[in-house]
Symmetry: C2
Subunit: 203 residues, 2 copies
């Protein structure tokens, strides 16, 4: 098992799915994908989800752009996924780590203003003090100033999508400083007809 | 931190969302919920997800029933969620552990036959040998006879929904024997227009 635990690839990844709640969901997904430049990430789609892998800035850039371009249609869309780094044996695609840090989608994404409700959870693997790392990650999120509430098995955020993405990226990267293998699940929802959570709603 | 790590509650839970890809998604969700008896679980819904907690048999019974009653409409529906057990500090709702083991939804669910494509991942927390536990959990799934393939960050299954649920429940419970805190993410998809994965598709 040791050789697996010693995987040293610093490749980041995200396996996610985009769910537009409308009859023409295929069109919404395809249109969003056409608007996004994925040339700096490894990408593969199957019948359940899409996986992107590469440098962390490009993984977050691509996932945020796909979500925003779908959400700007006004349809109720959800993006559900798991970010991962340090997964033992995760090496295929390392070539994408040699890309530079120029974001390919930020320019087109930055003016799309969408309110997002989201829930995320951090899973630092293989260490006994993982709860401390989770608490630190959530505190990093609180420092960003978005509304944060604990719910069972997750942390709830509300705010502008760009702030939300900066928040979860910071929480993920800060956790990664303390654990070599970290997974973060995210559930982002835009244009939902459901009533927004209010401070004090708690669990 | 120790008092958190020593949480002894054996309550199981699942935080999940149901996504019907259609204009009348609200109606599909509400109709499915009306068909399911949730009286043996703690349940709370917010604007992003629903959380159910209680004995493991009732948590799986309720989640499977909600998914099946939505999928039987023929709409492309997805259920995305995280099962959890042993989360430190998870105690509210322990009263539901005193319920008996008679399933409230199996009778109505058992004749609904739906093909499901799904991806799941196991996260045994707080232990250095977590990769061994994951491999054992996936082997448990293989023993059920559904098509199993490894993909980045997840395991892919295809098959009848009842077999799929038995498989992931067995994988989850077998992992729990080796780690006190385990999370399992699941992504279940029915009636998708996407082409099914084939053996040999690999990553």
């Amino acid at each position: 098992m040791n050789e697996q635990l010693c995987g040293t690839s610093r490749i980041y990844g995200c396996r996610f799915s985009l769910y537009p709640m409308c009859d023409n969901f295929i069109e919404v997904i395809k249109t969003a994908l056409r608007e996004v430049d994925t040339s700096k990430v490894w990408i593969k789609t199957d019948n359940v989800s899409t996986c992107v892998r590469g440098r962390n800035e490009h993984v977050f850039d691509v996932v945020k752009a796909i979500y925003l371009h779908a959400a700007k249609t006004g349809t109720h869309v959800v993006l559900n996924g798991s970010f991962s780094v340090g997964c033992p044996g995760d090496s295929e695609g390392d070539v994408y780590l040699s890309e530079d840090d120029v974001l390919l989608n930020e320019e087109k994404s930055k003016d799309i203003s969408i309110e997002t409700a989201m829930q995320f959870a951090l899973y630092p693997m293989g260490i006994p003090h993982y709860m401390d790392v989770i608490v630190d990650g959530v505190n990093t999120a609180k420092d960003e100033g978005v509304f944060v509430a604990g719910v069972h098995y997750a942390t709830h955020l509300d705010g502008d999508t760009h702030t939300i993405f900066r928040t979860i990226k910071d929480a993920f990267l800060s956790s990664h400083k303390e654990a070599s293998h970290v997974v973060m699940t995210v559930n982002l929802s835009a244009n939902s007809p459901s009533t927004k959570r209010k401070p004090g709603d708690g669990k």
